[in-house]
Symmetry: C2
Amino acid sequence: MKSSLKISETVVRRLPIYLRYLNELSMRNVQTVSSQELGNRLDLNPAQIRKDLAYFGEFGKKGIGYDVSYLIEKIRQILKLDQTINVALIGAGNLGVALCNYNMYQKDNMKIQAVFDNHPDKIGQTINHLTVLPLSQMHEKIRAENIRVGIITVPASEAQNVADQLVEAGIEGILNFAPTIIKVPEHIRVHYADFTADLLSLAYYLE
Amino acid sequence: MKSSLKISETVVRRLPIYLRYLNELSMRNVQTVSSQELGNRLDLNPAQIRKDLAYFGEFGKKGIGYDVSYLIEKIRQILKLDQTINVALIGAGNLGVALCNYNMYQKDNMKIQAVFDNHPDKIGQTINHLTVLPLSQMHEKIRAENIRVGIITVPASEAQNVADQLVEAGIEGILNFAPTIIKVPEHIRVHYADFTADLLSLAYYLE
DNA sequence: TAGATTGTTAATCGATTAACAATC
DNA sequence: TAGATTGTTAATCGATTAACAATC
């Protein structure tokens, strides 16, 4: 385990991709997989996959490949998904509600434990067993429930304000669906789920 | 215009980000912006922004900066957003419905013109003025409406099947929200809106 | 043993950034 | 003119890939 090394962001971003396919293999009772097979399926170079995994340890066996279950366990450890991570969602609009109901991350140990919205129509409603709370209760709830990640699904115009409140409440990471760049202190991690940019850039490649 | 040059994907992906902020400036009646200001706001290196734009032409004025309206116009041309691009959405679940209602890309000239789903409960329902059609009508409708892009919001297990049908119907690009890698012919462009990977990789950086 | 596949080094490729002449 | 800022080159930095000894 070379955990002293600084691992690049591009490497970390591939780990969930590996994990997902490994889970699929596991469900099909496949015992072992090679970097070759992984690469084929995921459109990645096998050498890259081996190198990615080698940053974290020696998980494979020469001549054999990787034990599927063992590698799943290891990647989950690396991503810190061996513990439950509590998540709050802010913005109970169409997208927010969709993500709450999705809740497929639950099997990955990330669980939406609270939903916030300031719209009077929304407050008090129930979404997937969770009552929508006003933003004024965010600080208290986030601390009480040990929530460490916030998902922002409010309009772009409100995203920075919500981010500020999340930081203030002691959140450690943010997944921002609002189509805007937000400013947070150094120690807060922000990922962008920017599907409008994904869609618009697609137009460039047409025809 | 050095349009012969092969532009890298990372450059193209930043164009919608520029466009978005330029639109904001335009609405605030800002006439001119420097790469410095853009970089500040978007957390990007000013040299990178100048280089990105210079791939497509000389849009700025030395000593002055970029004319906001002119640059918006140019970026829209580059991304081919000066024409309307018709889009189909496949999978009228929570997420699909959310994206239909969103339809904020409409102002960017990408418009969802058809919605498909095979679930009997869904077929015939109306979502944002569009009637949900069965997949069996996809081929015909896509050709009739000149639809060039497909958004996949079905479960991962069905994504490849839907992608195959989209390709068969003559689609040119796909935005895939299903958490799985899909295989398509060389000439089809696929972008991934993989927010579960964004969320899981966030866990790595906590604490 | 022979075949397969890892972990890792070295080579390549591509992206970012600094620096600055050109010029508004 | 003096100050600001572009477009572009060169330097740096980082990521991908090929190749192969080690070994199951």
